[in-house]
């Protein structure tokens, strides 16, 4: 295992505020009023924060799941340009050979550890975009992650892009936006309250006596009323979200969903519970560490990269199986701060590069295809030895939030300031 930077940040996430359900997510004229009424409305109701009408049934509805692979995932090992002779030349020890890759088309193949994604690909429920970046993304993990999570542009935005997307998408429930982790991911930080949880069962007050617990919850709510501070807002969200979280925690996985017993498996199982409980979950963020493969990246037969991709593949396979038909309204974006250098280094690893690979899984996709621009790996094509950023992260993400969150076209400029998104066609 390499001991590198961002081999895993882990703090940062939290999740949403909410309002009553049954709203047209595009009903912009009602939004302000409803957001304002949100907390109060919940306090009056059951406290479950449960949407009356399934969001998934609405246009622009459903749930967006963002997996952020921290450390810089080596896209050339996941989505392999099998037909490119420069790959084997640049990576004599670690390239995925064409003979071992799972074939996609004449240009591309998948790492053999991604066998479940390969099946989803053939079912039209998986797609990919290579060479993704923005002009401002650097080779520093921290700078690149920060830039990307604020919206990919060096100037302007200080809040997270997903928080702004939620603002544009209209009101929601207390469990509208969730980081499955101990603190809020940077992309969800902003004006819209969000929730973060390490696990669903963590959102319950451990007081055995029900009447006493009820009094305690009321006292907790009152103790944070009239306090203009983010910590009080989070406490109120906690009180509002407890009921919905308990409801979701009672949902059992489908028998066929074989979640691996690791962090990501556990986290995705909780996301699936929330989706199936229909408590208004619109965005879920999960950080996945361990991708900074400077040393001993391994081969198709084993090693860090094969292990990490296999872990990802098994968890996503279980998630899709667990969701079943509900998965039509769920889209997973697998992203990372940057790709890695084309040439392997002397430690049989790869150093920080530029253009990254994005994987998309779930419903609503123009699946079974590699999207975007690609010009191969010839030395004259590369940017200082790296895959260039032929495709803009913001184009991919804008298309997905338009489909999943119903962000109106006119609001995309708020989500990605200074950029006019050009759809690549990743959504159906």
């Amino acid at each position: 295992m390499t001991a590198t930077p961002a081999a895993t940040p882990c703090h940062r996430c939290h999740d949403p505020d909410g309002s009553g359900g049954g709203l047209d997510p595009r009903g912009r004229s009602r939004r302000r009023l409803l957001v304002g009424a949100g907390a109060a409305g919940l306090a009056l109701g059951t406290g479950l924060g449960r949407a009356r009408v399934s969001f998934a049934a609405q246009p622009g509805g459903g749930t967006l799941v963002v997996l952020f692979l921290r450390g810089g995932m080596d896209g050339l090992s996941a989505l392999v340009p099998v037909g490119d002779p420069h790959l084997a030349a640049a990576r004599p020890d670690i390239a995925v050979p064409a003979s071992a890759a799972l074939p996609l088309d004449r240009t591309w193949g998948l790492h053999p550890a991604l066998s479940s994604l390969h099946q989803l690909w053939r079912d039209g429920r998986c797609a990919a975009v290579p060479a993704v970046s923005t002009p401002d993304i650097s080779r520093s993990h921290f700078q690149a992650q920060d830039c990307l999570e604020r919206g990919g542009s060096a100037t302007g935005a200080t809040s997270g892009w997903l928080n702004r997307a939620l603002e544009s998408a209209g009101p929601g429930t207390p469990l509208q936006a969730l980081t499955v982790g101990k603190s809020t991911v940077r992309s969800l930080v902003g004006e819209r309250p969000t929730t973060s949880l390490r696990a669903l069962d963590a959102l319950s007050l451990r007081i055995g006596d029900e009447a006493r617990r009820g009094r305690a919850v009321e006292a907790l709510r009152a103790l944070h009323e009239g306090v203009d501070h983010p910590l009080a807002a989070d406490a109120r969200t906690a009180v509002d979200a407890m009921g919905a979280a308990q409801l979701a925690a009672a949902v059992a996985p489908e028998p066929g969903a074989d979640y691996p017993d690791d962090d990501l498996g556990t986290q995705l199982r909780d996301v699936a519970r929330l989706v199936k409980a229909d408590v208004g979950l619109r965005v879920a963020c999960i950080d996945v560490g361990g991708w900074d493969t400077h040393v001993g990246q391994g081969t198709v037969d084993g090693g860090t990269m094969a292990d990490r991709l296999g872990m990802l593949d098994r968890a996503l396979d279980a998630f899709v199986a667990d969701l079943g038909p509900a998965g039509d309204a769920v889209t997973v974006v697998v992203m990372t701060e940057f790709g890695r250098r084309v040439e392997q280094n002397a430690s049989r690893g790869t150093d920080h590069g530029h253009g990254a690979t994005v994987l998309l899984v779930g419903g609503g996709l123009a699946g079974g295809r590699v999207h975007g621009t690609w010009h191969g790996l010839a030395p004259e094509v590369l940017d200082d030895g790296d895959v260039p950023g032929w495709n803009d992260y913001r184009d991919v993400l804008a298309e997905v939030v338009t489909m999943r969150l119903g962000v109106p076209a006119g609001s995309l400029g708020d989500v990605f300031p200074g950029h006019r998104p050009q759809p690549l066609g990743v959504t159906a």
Partner: protein, 594 residues
């Protein structure tokens, strides 16, 4: 999420009666003539500002700086100095800006406290500067500590805290003594536990938490934590199973109140750091840029200094040759070794540092000179000044203060204690009441201290369970898995889940759910106070645990749990409702702020 992929076994290891290190966890002797510098600085730079209360500007500007080409500058143009500044600016609201009276700098801390008016809105009662001082310089005020500061005076108390060896620390030694490997040298660790297991690192983390909770050297522990986050090596975590305890002892604890330049040089000669950031395997034929980059970005000048990718490459080249003795020697495995054969030779140039770097043998000295150059760089001064201000003042601290702290740092050859004196003599510090939020472990530690809880048996097992509670809250001591250390601004810690987690920890502590810890009795805590009625009891508990009474509507919320009538007789025994009210006082925003 925490990266468990890199995690090795939590093996109990072979407890082979490891040798205790003589000075385990103790601060080093003072290296800097405190009085002289205090005198020397007093008055200097006390430029009185004319006019009434000034609005202080936060540091830096979020401006549309021109976008630099990636290959030239590894900084994105938003211009955040670091992650914490990025988080702190995320909401668009400047809750941390403070206003103060005209004079910003004062001859002594007590004079600064007396001269500063607290105008920033907060729930906390700003009347008593002693409580503000204790919320910022300790892991939580207690009535005994407040009495101690009042008896000694603020200035004398700070003098003693900044001379930690002058303070006996029986309680801290007692709890830390349950963890013999906490600060052990590599040879002892390697003799005592199974290879690559986490026992020694875990002991180090738990013992550090214990000292934070019970040591008399509170300000020293606060500074140890600040530096452990700044020159961060995950403990437990990463690859430093045998060397991380020694790193904490000989790099962080040894220099926490010394000179930053010395700490930096020590870190760059330590196997724990060299392994963690791949320095140990970086050699002339295959220079690994990881350490060279993080040294610039995280440990010293920061991205805002404008270094280039070429600077990063030279930075990494300078550091080649610094490696770690392997299992087969030559020498003592797990110790630092400079290998000239690995060193990259040739001219180097980084941010004003230039050297011919002509010989393999001279590489270590070139590196030390480079490290001292970086430690004394103006950009490093600003980053460290800002870090100190973020820790002690506010999430987005005033530029006026950061400027003065940076100047003090440079004027004193990177010595840390003078920087703290400048801090405590500032109005910015004393004006910032309630502008910080306790991070999860700080919240738990403050609750333990406020409730007067101590481990009463099975100290090692008991404290490990308490440490696990801090882990569930995402804040186990020194466990942050990335090289940038735990964040220190509230925006980066916002979490609904952790909020509930802390509420549950409060209930466990108040209820005495953990067998190894003493069980507090709320009625004993308020003994001697008027507590005959429900209202009086609620007020007494708030004063005892939060050092002030609550706003009427918040008081009503607590009274409601005890039946709703403030004039009704208070409980006279440890009832479940009484415990619930006690926990709620700790759940309140009054307790969450520091």
């Amino acid at each position: 999420m925490t990266d468990h992929s890199a995690r090795t076994d939590w093996s109990p290891g072979r407890h082979a009666a490891p040798r205790r290190r003589g000075d385990g966890g103790s601060p080093p002797t003072r290296r800097w003539p405190r009085r002289a510098v205090v005198a020397g600085l007093a008055g200097a730079g006390t430029a009185a500002v004319a006019g009434a209360a000034i609005r202080l500007r936060p540091t830096g500007e979020v401006a549309g700086a021109p976008t630099a080409r990636r290959a030239e500058r590894p900084v994105d143009g938003a211009g955040f100095a670091d992650r914490d500044e990025s988080f702190a600016r995320s909401s668009g609201t400047r809750m941390s800006a403070v206003s103060v009276e005209p004079t910003l700098e004062h001859p002594t801390p007590s004079a600064a406290a007396a001269a500063t008016e607290v105008t920033a809105p907060t729930l906390l009662d700003p009347a008593d500067p002693v409580l503000h001082l204790l919320r910022r310089t300790t892991y939580g005020p207690t009535p005994e500590l407040a009495a101690e500061v009042r008896a000694l005076g603020i200035d004398a108390w700070l003098e003693a805290q900044l001379d930690p060896l002058s303070l006996p620390d029986p309680a801290g030694d007692l709890v830390a003594g349950a963890f013999p490997l906490a600060w052990a040298d590599p040879a002892t660790v390697r003799r005592s536990i199974e290879r690559t297991t986490w026992e020694a690192m875990s002991q180090c983390s738990v013992a550090t938490m214990a000292r934070q909770m019970w040591s008399s050297r509170q300000l020293y522990e606060v500074m140890v934590e600040l530096w452990a986050d700044h020159l961060h090596v995950p403990t437990p975590g990463g690859v430093s199973w045998d060397t991380a305890p020694d790193y904490q002892a000989t790099v962080i604890r040894a220099h926490a109140l010394g000179r930053f330049a010395d700490m930096l040089v020590a870190s760059a000669r330590h196997p724990a750091m060299l392994r963690w950031l791949n320095g140990a395997e970086s050699r002339k034929e295959a220079v690994n840029e990881n350490y060279g980059r993080e040294l610039l970005e995280l440990h010293t000048v920061g991205v805002a200094s404008g270094y280039t990718e070429e600077d990063v490459r030279d930075s990494a080249r300078i550091l080649t040759g610094r490696t770690v003795v392997g299992d087969d020697g030559p020498g003592e495995p797990g110790t630092f070794r400079y290998d000239p054969a690995m060193h990259w030779v040739g001219p180097v140039r980084v941010l004003g540092f230039e050297h011919d770097n002509a010989t393999p043998e001279g590489g270590l000295e070139v590196g030390d000179a480079y490290l001292r150059h970086l430690a004394g760089h103006e950009a490093t001064a600003r980053r460290i000044a800002r870090k100190v201000a973020v820790r002690f003042v506010s999430d987005d601290p005033p530029a006026s203060l950061v400027d003065r702290l940076a100047a003090t740092y440079l004027d004193n050859d990177t010595a840390i204690t003078p920087v703290l004196w400048t801090l405590f003599r500032s109005s910015e510090f004393w004006a910032a009441v309630g502008q910080k939020v306790r991070r999860p472990r700080e919240n738990i530690a403050a609750a333990v201290r406020a409730l007067g809880i101590v481990p009463e048996r099975d100290v090692s097992a008991t404290l490990r369970r308490l440490s696990d509670a801090t882990h569930r809250s995402g804040h186990q001591a020194m466990r942050w898995p990335a090289p940038d250390g735990y964040p220190d601004v509230h925006a980066a810690w916002r979490s609904v889940g952790v909020t509930v987690e802390l509420w549950n920890v409060h209930r466990a502590l108040v209820g005495g759910w953990d067998e190894g810890l003493t069980t507090p009795d709320p009625l004993r805590l308020v003994e001697g106070e008027p507590a005959g009625t429900v209202g009086e009891l609620v007020d007494a508990l708030c004063r005892r645990l939060c050092f002030q009474t609550f706003r009427p509507d918040h008081r009503d919320a607590l009274v409601a749990v005890l039946g709703g009538d403030p004039d009704a007789p208070a409980p006279t025994s440890r009832t479940a409702d009484l415990l619930e009210v006690t926990a709620l006082v700790l759940d309140s925003p009054y307790f969450a702020l520091r």
